[in-house]
Symmetry: C2
């Protein structure tokens, strides 16, 4: 108990002393708080009642309006094979055009085949993640073209930073999966980039990963790398979802070729599709959040229905990405009150259909300042209370997705862990009610030395990674570090502490051979 400093007791020279917290000087500065967290942050369950901002009636209204969109306006589907499959399933394809219309009965029939929940399998079974129900899964930032840390500034993505970022994703247990390429490593030629990147995801992490749907061959390569990583047959993998892809619609109301091809390749093999319209209210969607949700829902359901046309029972998630733009400049905004409402309403829609819900931890800040924190915290509020199941861009996403930030990654890890701790049920056992301790201390004492405190103090509360709770004087002596400073230090400590997960040498050999062969074949033809 010697580490506990008794706080200065309240004095009475100024009013309301008890409300003014006093702080001790601390001992020996900030304690080290790195390390990979603990397994307690795996398998998170969110049992908080969902916040419903739509009534059953208005939820029905949004559903019905999106059905009208699908029936009367329809979607442009660019890939002929997808139109053919849709027509075969009963959709109305306008001859000589890309327009496809769907009866609501067809949509409802198809989406009913989607599983309510499923497991995504990692090469390390301890890293499997459960999708759907009350499960909550956090995936790392994905697809940023830029990367940033304080020393290096903001720069184009590259392989070195890519690898550092996925090592960080591996390091923290609260990051349950990577989410794509956290940053785009443009120093690797696009024809073979996916081979190097996915190979790294197998070797440097043992968590589930994502492959981009940018043409059939990339999907096929991704499937093969995931299969090799797990050391199983394709037959087994088709029964055990092991790879996921994000399918974005080209809002408004277009499903493009590579994305539809991605659904065909992934769903036909029982892998996971996350169908996510990108509906910015006021830009690619109506300026009202309700209207943007109507469009989101129409696009999402068209894509989800298509997964089931490809293979009934294929695992799929309902993705929501509705936010607003700054109407004065057209700049996208995130973590706004409108975003919060869209996230919560999206959750209600997903639950209405019984499909796991994917959403995101967003912000539009250019640096790690207060804005980056409040926009993210409000995103976390919305997605937690709104029942998100799979949270893409959980850690590191900043500047509206343009940049993967090392420091923001750490800030997000800390906030995600706080969410996890908040979701841990409050212990209201007889021991926790502490009547004996209250009896022991009685009026006017303090609890620092009680048996009740001694037995619990080390693990009583969440110990944040970044929060600097030293008093002002001690903090000043330490040079007045901000959260940004702490995050800059911690990300490097975490990288230094990173441990590469073990990989069966036979698997590594098979993987290397596959990548070498595919590279020798030229990878994937690029037309850019």
């Amino acid at each position: 108990m010697s580490e506990i400093t008794t706080p200065t007791l309240p004095e009475t020279e100024t009013p309301a002393a008890p409300e003014r917290a006093r702080r001790s000087g601390g001992r020996g500065g900030m304690r080290q708080r790195t390390g990979s967290g603990t397994a307690k942050y795996r398998n998170l369950v969110n049992n908080i009642a969902r916040t419903e901002i739509l009534t059953p009636e208005t939820l029905d209204d949004i559903h019905a309006a999106s059905m009208t969109v699908l029936e009367e306006i329809g979607i442009d589907v660019i890939l002929p094979e997808a139109r053919d499959r849709m027509k075969a399933a009963g959709a109305h394809v306008t001859p000589g055009s890309e327009r496809v219309r769907f009866d609501r009965g067809l949509i409802e029939e198809m989406i009913a085949f989607a599983p309510k929940s499923f497991t995504m399998h990692a090469r390390n079974p301890a890293r499997n993640v459960e999708i759907g129900g009350n499960n909550l899964v956090f995936a790392q930032v994905a697809s940023a073209p830029f990367v940033a840390d304080r020393e290096g500034g903001r720069r184009a993505g590259n392989q070195e930073d890519y690898r550092k970022l996925i090592k960080l994703a591996q390091h923290y247990d609260i990051i349950h999966t990577t989410g794509g390429y956290p940053v785009e490593p443009i120093d690797i030629h696009a024809s073979v980039r996916h081979l190097d990147c996915l190979s790294d995801l197998v070797k440097l992490t043992d968590k589930v990963f994502h492959c981009y749907s940018l043409g059939q061959q990339r999907n096929l390569d991704g499937l093969e790398i995931a299969r090799i990583g797990r050391g199983i047959s394709m037959e087994q993998m088709e029964k055990e979802p092991s790879l996921f892809t994000v399918i974005n619609s080209s809002s408004p109301l277009r499903l493009d070729g590579p994305m539809m091809q991605g659904i065909i390749e992934m769903s036909s093999r029982g892998q996971v599709v996350i169908m996510t319209p990108f509906t910015l209210a006021g830009a690619m969607a109506p300026v009202t959040i309700a209207g943007a949700l109507v469009q989101q829902n129409a696009e999402a359901l068209a894509g989800i229905a298509f997964t089931q046309m490809v293979k009934k029972g294929a695992p799929v998630m309902y993705g929501g990405f509705t936010s607003n733009v700054d109407m004065k400049t057209g700049a996208p905004a995130f973590g706004t009150p409108e975003y919060m409402k869209a996230v919560m309403a999206g959750g209600q829609l997903a639950r209405r259909y019984g499909i796991p819900y994917r959403t995101s931890n967003t912000n539009a800040a250019n640096t790690l300042d207060a804005q980056s924190a409040y926009e993210s915290a409000m995103s976390l509020w919305a997605l937690t209370q709104g029942g998100g199941n799979f949270i893409l861009h959980s850690a590191g996403w900043t500047e509206g997705g343009l940049t993967a930030s090392f420091e923001k990654f750490i800030l997000d890890v800390d906030m995600l862990q706080m969410v996890a701790e908040f979701l841990t049920p409050l212990d209201v056992s007889t021991d926790a009610l502490a009547l004996d301790a209250v009896r022991e201390v009685g009026p006017g004492g303090h609890y620092f030395g009680t048996a009740h405190t001694l037995a619990r103090y080390e693990n009583a509360f969440y110990s944040p990674i970044l929060s600097d709770w030293r008093n002002f004087e001690t903090w000043t002596e330490a040079g007045r570090p901000t959260t940004y400073d702490h995050a800059n230090r911690v990300y490097k400590e975490a990288l230094a502490a990173y441990q590469q997960p073990a990989l069966d040498p036979a698997i590594e050999e098979e993987l290397d051979a596959f990548v070498a062969r595919r590279k020798a074949e030229g990878g994937v033809p690029t037309d850019f």
Copy 2:
């Protein structure tokens, strides 16, 4: 519509382009966003379903344990008059001691007299606030010994900063009341400080205010100044609560003299008591949140019961201030997962008793960094979902309450406005569903120029005070300002835009005469 810049359309050279938000350069830098907000931020209602982290059974367990504390352990009540009144009401006073024990039946009988809701009357009726039910009232930071802004650094409180801070509270409609002295002006002698400070609250604001319970005379002077400010009789004021006081217990389990005197003076005249234990788990309360809540509840109910012993029906609030300490240093922590749980559970207890719930917007950061934002945002999450009715320290509180920050005040105003916008019901009218706009645009277009957008774009979304949504290049050209920089600028703009509210010259004359007379009498004797 010329101010809207069409965002750069997604390109395809990198994966998942649609998820990567692109931002226009903006036009002419940050727009000015000062001004006093709008009346839409008055009379806030929180109709979101409350998040209940306690089951009915565990809620009962906490209640029952706190009743056991009051029956078996009891509370030390320092003021003899208070003990006498408690004894007369049926409590058990141990002869020759300060210990008072309360049967649970007595507590339940007494607290049942407390009103479920009431109005607090300002000198400007448009500033009246409704307390209880689904109403949500934000009060400014109170009682900080220090004040800070970037240029002046952290310094002892003084009258000039005191006045600036209450002017800011007046300026923004989202700040519904002041909360005490936002900073303690120690350059005014303690004997007359309350006279100058309360006089300023009448003149520089037209909102409800607080008087400290630091001895009978200060309460009496506060009551008289509130009465004069409203221009009414004391008889009328006794029917119309117009002044509030925060009563803190001296945890654990002590109710001190000035505080009990404050209840006697305020409750007997129908003014508002906010009964708030300060129960830091691990220091002045058990190290478990459940145990701290038991103690909070016992102390709060003892004080609330006492208000009703003084006067049945006297308006009172249930205050919760349970948080944890950093067990390694003893430093108080705020905005933590534990704080969130305590805030939500406190709301359940207050609703169980049908008493309006006071809580706070807290953080323990030493500067306006990401920590200050995430701790506050998580506090706001908890108090909004937990059903706080009256939020003390809503704006400006930082460093665990030791400092009132000008910049944090602005940050908080922005976040409070976001909470208010979030609580505004989503418009799901036929117009908002926007089917006609979706028809007009169809697949592949955009919504910038539609009639639906043109009719709504100016007020479609919340326009933040501080969020910097410019793209990275434009933001860099502007010198890379952080939220702290923006807040520093905005607080000065708001002070420049401040307008002193009109005051009847007869009231001003009466107020000045009263203050002059009381000062001539020496104010209040001080023994420090």
